[in-house]
């Protein structure tokens, strides 16, 4: 009897979670292999595996749909904003946690309050502001919001990490004659590598996936990013599903690779960001 109830509870615990796990991963796998089918094959049976590997969809996405432009723009935005986010958050986080100066409370408070601001409410006023300054539709338009939105949480991650480093090392460096900048970049920076890599990965995920700001602030086709580019696929090629799937697969691939490599770090970072917020 006990064995039977045990088996039943094993079933009801394991099977639903297994089903959920499968639904979480299957759509992406389906996306991957469907993008290798031809349209006719896909229309016949949307479930089946492709009969032959067919990379025409990918070729077409680059040739006729200018997907390379979108990829380049997304990569450009991601890398430039990553570099600047890294620099800014490290410098500000370190200085805030180690130095006492006038206005420190203000800087701290503004960044802390910034976590609470729902950024979507800023799109309309930002559009108006950028329009007045002439910053709409340029190559660097999106860098401003992407860097700014990443700052608060990243700064607090760095700040709390630096607080955990003992001060003696910096004192020793100062006695040996190292200036502030030198101490910061040659002694603290290497120690902070774990938290900085978390910051970089999170910032990359956010920038690469961001949609509303990219959609509203950039209308010029030459500067559109991947998520916005995907929406233009449906209006232009409304029937070609396999082509769209190839584009979706390409948009997802970098994120998947990074997730597989760093999933522990991503979870930690998102958790810290969430609990702080």
């Amino acid at each position: 009897m006990k064995k039977i109830t045990g088996a039943i509870s094993w079933f009801f615990i394991n099977v639903p979670i297994m089903l959920l796990s499968i639904t979480c991963i299957f759509p992406v796998i389906w996306l991957g292999y469907s993008s290798l089918k031809t349209s006719t094959e896909f229309n016949l049976n949307s479930f089946s595996l492709p009969s032959a590997l067919n990379f025409d969809n990918y070729r077409q996405a680059f040739q006729t749909a200018k997907f390379d432009v979108y990829l380049f723009n997304s990569a450009f935005n991601s890398f430039i904003s990553l570099a600047l986010v890294l620099l800014f958050t490290f410098v500000v986080g370190y200085l805030l946690s180690r130095y006492r100066f006038k206005g420190r409370g203000l800087v701290y408070g503004v960044f802390l309050a910034g976590i609470l601001v729902p950024v979507y409410a800023l799109i309309v006023p930002m559009f108006i502001m950028f329009k007045n300054v002439g910053l709409l539709n340029t190559r660097i338009t999106l860098l401003f919001p992407y860097i700014a939105f990443e700052l608060p949480i990243a700064i607090f991650l760095v700040d709390s990490y630096v607080k955990g480093i003992s001060k003696e090392m910096e004192d020793a460096a100062a006695i040996d004659g190292a200036g502030m900048l030198r101490t910061m970049f040659t002694i603290i920076l290497p120690i902070c590598r774990p938290v900085l890599s978390t910051v970089v990965i999170l910032a990359f995920m956010h920038t690469w996936n961001e949609f509303p700001f990219a959609q509203m602030l950039v209308m010029k086709a030459a500067y559109k990013t991947v998520p916005v580019g995907l929406t233009s696929f449906t209006s232009q090629f409304s029937v070609d599903y396999t082509l769209l799937m190839a584009a979706l697969a390409m948009a997802t691939l970098p994120v998947v690779v990074i997730y597989i490599l760093f999933y522990k770090k991503i979870m930690q970072g998102m958790m810290a960001g969430a609990v702080k917020g």
């Binding site: 759509p27 992406v28 502030m180």
Partner: protein, 354 residues
């Protein structure tokens, strides 16, 4: 009295000998823990404490000399942040008092936009839709994540690490991609859902998932729920792993089963984290836009319109910038309000239980 105590101590000894390793094991562990808790003996520190006075002065003077550099280094990101986040926040309040089409002259109309909003049926439809989706998402994301995180403490569940990694995976995907993928899932002809239903012989369940106004709010909530279950699962599992294992061991010795342990120990211990998770989820769903823009763009009709979508449509499609800014302000107000209400509700309930 003293004799009694001696007897009980004796009894304890006998019991201990009879019960064997479980009791002694946990006792020993407790003893070890008690030793660990004792403060460490004071040791001489060779750090800044021991530096001669003159050297400390020198260090402080160095810090003073660096002050302009510090301001410069912090100033650049700080000003950027002010101009990108704080300034738009303030001017959105200013623009909400204007009537402006984005190009022509601006005229100051006071609170007229807010008055229009009160009578605007589409605004209230979008607001109720957003609130309903938020409710679904709190139940579907935090609720399901809570159940799964409880199951994760169950010994019968296998492959825990695998489940956690896989369930978290959709969190990192772009909402736009999720929207497209679910559009394929819901598609009436070749969609995965209808294909599956046909294969199972459940033809009567087949619907026009994204064109049926009676179920549209549920169908568009499911992808959002599905995407973020993993985030809350990881948050809650983090909180559960912080609960000291001794408590569970004691409860287990006292004969509490898994359900009782979850409800009486885990739930009260992670209450604060649960509160944060619910606030995060509700205020996060208030600004939902990407998924819905891709899947239905507010349709059919306006049945799946949400606040952010309505705001962008008023601003950019109808070029009504003043009114768009008004809705932005309301979006901000609603998200802050909803976090405050949840804080209030859950705070009092938690205190009563604890």
């Amino acid at each position: 009295m003293r004799a009694k105590r001696r007897i009980s101590a004796r009894l304890g000894d006998i019991l201990q000998r009879m019960l064997g390793p479980v009791e002694t094991g946990s006792r020993q562990r407790l003893r070890v823990k008690a030793q660990r808790c004792r403060p460490a003996p004071l040791q001489p520190r060779y750090g800044l404490m021991m530096l001669p006075q003159r050297m400390r002065l020198m260090l402080e003077r160095n810090a003073k000399r660096n002050l302009p550099l510090i301001y410069a280094l912090i100033g650049v990101p700080f000003l950027l942040y002010i101009f990108i986040v704080i300034v738009p926040l303030c001017i959105s309040i200013f623009y909400s008092l204007l009537k402006w089409d984005g190009i022509g002259p601006q005229s100051f109309v006071g609170f007229k936009n807010f008055a229009t909003m009160l009578k605007d049926r589409n605004f209230w439809l979008s607001t109720t839709n957003t609130l309903i989706i938020s409710l679904y998402c709190v139940l579907g994301q935090v609720g399901v994540a809570l159940v799964i995180s409880f199951l994760m403490t169950n010994r019968r569940l296998k492959l825990k690490e695998f489940h956690r990694t896989v369930i978290f995976f959709p969190v990192v995907l772009a909402p736009v991609v999720i929207g497209f993928v679910w559009k394929f899932v819901y598609d009436q002809n070749f969609g995965l859902l209808n294909t599956l239903l046909r294969a199972l012989g459940l033809q009567s369940w087949i619907r026009l998932w994204l064109d049926d106004t009676s179920i549209i709010l549920t169908t568009i909530s499911i992808p959002v729920m599905w995407q973020y279950i993993g985030l809350y699962l990881v948050i809650l599992m983090g909180a559960i792993s912080a609960v000291p294992t001794e408590i569970y061991e004691c409860a287990e010795i006292d004969g509490a089963n898994w359900y009782q342990r979850s409800m009486k120990i885990t739930l009260p211990m992670i209450w604060d984290t649960l509160k944060i998770a619910i606030i995060l989820c509700a205020s996060g769903t208030m600004k939902i836009y990407d998924h819905i823009y891709i899947m239905t763009n507010g349709g059919p009709g306006r049945s799946s319109s949400v606040l952010a979508l309505y705001c962008f449509k008023t601003t950019f499609d109808n070029s009504n910038f003043g009114y768009g800014a008004t809705i932005s302000v309301m979006l901000l107000v609603f998200s802050l309000l909803i976090s405050w209400v949840i804080q209030l509700l859950m705070g009092s309930y938690g205190r009563k239980n604890a």
